[in-house]
């Protein structure tokens, strides 16, 4: 079929699919932002497996109108970050739970639900909402990001006017087997402000989430999330951030289980001397498909970016990594690092990686590496020869494989919480699914 025909078919299918979607009512700014996003979306069409960036991850079940069931999973253990003192915000199947949430206020914080912010004709969130998502559409189209901007039912808008030490913790509970949630958060930091955002939980049977973060000069954004252990859940997430000068961005994601997860991170470094680190650890057992798609644009001097992604796969699980560093012409002295690695615990699992560097500046240091491997037999023998049982030795080696990603978590208590969960996941191996 000719390319033009294919595109037309895609657009027709998109129009057809979007009949089921209703744009939430809202004030002037929200209406404009949503309509612009819809226009972007209908211009691109919803993704299909034919698209270059969806070649390894079939998007159909993230879009299809079919009933996408996901059994609710009770881990029978405390949720992540329960021991971390934080401002708590709770959504159940994408619906805000006022009872379970703290008062949406704090020092140096202005917090509004998106559902409320969108009712006004003018709101500060309009300077971010859909803005970074739109910027992130070139050079690679992200139609599910536009879909989110157009149709997100709710979310949290956080404005940070100074350094906030107590994190904001968003918990996404999953209660309905057929829930289909679309949430969109906006974080706007003032110059020199700082915020740690935690997220945890499966959210819904199917979840589409966007976060847009504006990080101006001297501001700092720290993000740690865990995506919930419900085996059948599906999620597509987009995390957009734009950094001014001397700004810092750190994000870490733990994904254990989930039948399909696509995490996109789109970062733009537009001010000098900034740093952006994005890391992830994914643990998959059986019916598990996990995709990290990262795009970092260096458009200023002396910025540092790091991507550290590790996946442990067994029992037929699939891991995907598509990571790109784009260094623009004037982004001299860029320091870019990217590593994506998988540890395959058996012969049935697979890891697909596409590391990309595109560099137009002539004075940069960029390195990237991608490996797929099994447990190091030599190390295993050495440990066993000291009396460490095979499973315990394998677990230690698996944790050591993940260590570089975990090291990206700045806060020690949070890192310890994440580490405990990795240990528990490994301990469940051989005792049914994690």
């Amino acid at each position: 079929m000719a390319r033009a025909d294919l595109k037309q078919r895609k657009l027709d299918a998109t129009t057809e699919r979007l009949r089921d979607f209703a744009m939430p009512a809202g004030g002037k700014w929200a209406r404009e932002a949503r309509e612009a996003a819809l226009l972007r979306l209908t211009g691109m069409g919803l993704p299909t497996k034919r698209d270059e960036y969806w070649r390894w991850t079939d998007p159909s079940s993230l879009i299809s109108p079919d009933d996408r069931r996901a059994a609710v999973f009770d881990a029978g253990e405390p949720r992540p970050f329960t021991d971390i003192d934080a401002l708590k915000i709770v959504f159940v199947d994408g619906v805000f739970d006022a009872e379970a949430s703290d008062e949406l206020a704090g020092e140096n914080l202005e917090i509004t639900r998106l559902a409320e912010a969108t009712q006004a004709d003018i709101h500060w969130a309009s300077s971010v909402y859909g803005v970074l998502e739109e910027r992130g559409q070139t050079p690679v189209e992200r139609p599910l990001g536009a879909l989110n901007t157009a149709f997100a039912s709710d979310g949290i808008c956080i404005r940070v006017s100074g350094v906030v030490t107590r994190p904001v913790n968003i918990t996404y509970l999953h209660a309905s087997e057929t829930s289909d949630a679309v949430l969109h958060h906006v974080v706007k930091l003032e110059e020199g402000a700082a915020l740690t955002l935690l997220e945890n939980g499966p959210a819904a049977a199917r979840f589409n989430k966007c976060i847009e973060v504006e990080i101006p000069d001297g501001a700092k954004f720290n993000h740690v999330r865990t995506q919930g252990r419900d085996h059948e859940r599906r999620a597509v997430t987009h995390l957009y951030a734009r950094l001014g000068s001397n700004a810092a961005f750190k994000s870490f994601t733990l994904t254990a289980n989930g039948v399909l997860t696509r995490n996109e991170v789109v970062l733009e470094l537009v001010g000098n001397d900034s740093m952006a680190h994005v890391a992830g650890a994914a643990l998959g057992d059986g019916d598990f498909h996990h995709d990290d798609t990262v795009f970092i644009t260096h458009d200023a001097e002396r910025c540092e970016s790091r991507q550290v992604f590790k996946k442990v796969l067994r029992n037929g699980a699939t891991g995907v990594f598509q990571g790109k560093i784009l260094v623009k012409k004037d982004a001299q002295k860029t320091d870019g690092y990217q590593i994506s690695q998988s540890l395959l615990l058996d012969d049935d699992s697979q890891f697909l990686a596409k590391p990309e560097l595109e560099i137009y500046a002539d004075d940069v240091v960029c390195s990237h590496g991608s490996t797929t491997g099994a447990i190091d037999e030599q190390a295993l023998y050495y440990m066993r020869s000291r009396g460490v049982p095979k499973t315990e030795a394998e677990n230690l080696l698996t944790l050591s494989f993940l260590a570089e990603a975990i090291a990206e978590i700045e806060d020690e208590a949070i890192a310890a919480d994440i580490n405990d969960r990795l240990v528990a996941w490994l301990a469940r191996r051989g005792h049914g699914k994690g």
Binding site: Y381, M383, R384, S385, G387, V388, P389, K390, S400
Partner: protein, 251 residues
Amino acid sequence: MLEIKNLHVKLEEEDKQILKGMSLKIGEGEVHAIMGPNGSGKSTTSYVLSGRDGYEVTEGSATLNGEELLDMDPEDRAAAGLFLAFQYPVEIPGVGNMTFLRTAVNAQRKARGEDELSAAEFLKEVRAKAKTLKIDADMLKRPVNVGFSGGEKKRNEILQMAMLEPKMCILDETDSGLDVDAMRLVSDGVNALRDGKRSFLVITHYQRLLDYIKPDVVHIMSDGKIIKSGGPELALEVEHNGYADLLAEAE
């Protein structure tokens, strides 16, 4: 203590026989040394005893206090009291030396039905033993053997041996890559563990090490078996004359 009887071993991958009727008997508290030219099967002996993959035992047995080692997993051999100090200690990035050591000590204790050491007890013991081997706090914190010099790696092996308190210690070319000072330090570490009950099998190319760790019996190994055994004087003979005469004699 350790009894190897008529051991025949070949490489799994290729049809190559390495051990061809190796026999050896080490009594309680004894120190035996094995010397021999390259390729005679010395290191293979240590690997087969400790349970490394890639070898197939076609005949013979190896028992530790009457228990057949060759049927056991490597970790069970360790729990039974066997320890191999590696010629090339393995680097394990990401696993802290201390974590590893404590995991190993407690895994063995657990396997033997003993109580695990508490963090405090372990720390106290490891610090004292590390000190005599001149292993500093930094080395204990670093990942296992990563960035260690040759001498540091060997000292770390001896520290593991001291902490695990095995009954039967095999030292595979522990002197390789060591300068004289390091060799003395390592030897002192080994000698400190000689208590009249613990047995040692020292594999080496050079008589020099045996000046520090004095053996009761010296074996000469060639082409997969022991061709001659004797007292410490046998090592001196090798040092002076090489293996040629001994090999010719055995022919």
